[in-house]
């Protein structure tokens, strides 16, 4: 068999023109870098453009929505904190007022208070010493 048998479409004894065509297609499919764009076609980069636009338009909107949600939650948390602090403050003020009133009330009572006392003669000249069971002390204002 000659090296170029045109009748059978075979070349070089073993590889036909069709085989060479397939071989070269496979070869260049592996050989051409995938990163190279194909002119005049929708290249992979261009196919990704809808995703990019989706990312550019839809995702920021979602981000904005989530940002608003976060802001609303933060405001609600702040309001709750303020309410709790306010209630605590009221409670503290009430306790303070009660303490103040109690202190004032205490100050109106004599040092003897309601405690029992008795007078005991001391010495021969008839000096009396008043004995008190307990004395309530309150800080001076």
């Amino acid at each position: 068999m000659s090296s170029s048998d045109k009748g059978g479409g075979r070349v070089a004894g073993q590889l036909s023109d069709q085989q060479m065509d397939l071989l070269l297609r496979d070869f260049f499919a592996c050989e051409v870098p995938g990163a190279l764009p194909v002119a005049g076609r929708v290249v992979p980069q261009l196919r990704r453009y809808p995703e990019v636009s989706e990312r550019a338009v839809v995702r920021p909107a979602a981000v904005i929505r989530s940002a608003r949600l976060v802001a609303a939650l933060a405001l609600a948390a702040l309001a709750l904190c303020a309410l709790l602090l306010n209630r605590d403050a009221e409670r503290v003020a009430t306790v303070a007022a009660k303490a103040k009133a109690a202190a004032e009330e205490t100050m109106l009572v004599s040092p003897q208070g309601s405690a029992g006392s008795r007078q005991v003669p001391v010495g021969a000249d008839g000096l009396l010493l008043q004995e008190t069971d307990q004395i309530q002390l309150a800080p001076q204002r």
Binding site: S3, S4, V11, A12, G13, Q14, L15, D17, Q19, M20, D21, L23, L24, R25, F27, F28, C30, E31, V32, P33, A35, L36, P37, V38, A39, G40, V43, Q45
Partner: protein
């Protein structure tokens, strides 16, 4: 002023036009560089290098963008070939062996087959190699190739057929075993 005219006038400020030109022409430039060096990675590097230099270009306005890129890429390929002649090269595709996702044997066989065809392509004369590269890497029609190579579509078809036949002969001489 049209887009192409402005691209020829002042390059550095035309990044969008350069990007557009890259999308339209980088594959053709790769094919031309590939037909010169028979190394896909190096041809790709030449394309990248030419466009990087175009971005950095500060001198006189580029009159013919394609010719300028071709000249820069060809010069870069010559410089690399000169440097590489005294150096050593790594086994191509070595990185693919790591990770276990690819069958090392299949990968090695594929690389061997690719290298065999590459070296056979390098044996062809430049016109035959170029016509095969244009046909199979860019899927150009005979008419498109004829316009570039200043000949008729029929002449291109004949040259393609002859180039395939010659390539098959070289492959068989090299002991290529077809599956």
């Amino acid at each position: 002023m049209t887009s192409s005219e402005s691209a020829l006038a002042g390059v550095p400020a035309r990044s969008e036009e350069i990007a557009c030109f890259y999308r339209e022409n980088s594959r053709e430039l790769w094919a031309i560089f590939y037909s010169m060096c028979s190394d896909p990675e190096r041809a790709h590097d030449a394309v990248q290098e030419a466009f990087v230099r175009l971005y950095d270009h500060q001198g006189e306005p580029v009159r013919d963008l394609r010719a300028w890129l071709l000249r820069v890429g060809q010069n870069w390929l010559r410089d690399v070939a000169r440097r590489k002649s005294s150096g050593c090269s790594l086994l191509p595709g070595l990185d693919e062996f790591t990770g276990g996702a690819v069958d090392p044997r299949a990968t090695a066989e594929l690389h061997e087959r690719q290298q065999q065809i590459r070296s056979a392509l390098a044996e062809l004369n430049e016109d035959d190699r170029r016509v095969l590269v244009m046909k199979y890497s860019m899927d150009w029609s005979a008419a498109q190739m004829g316009a570039v190579m200043n000949c008729t579509a029929a002449a291109i078809d004949m040259r393609l057929s002859r180039a395939r036949r010659r390539l098959a002969e070289i492959l068989l001489e090299q002991g290529y075993q077809h599956e």
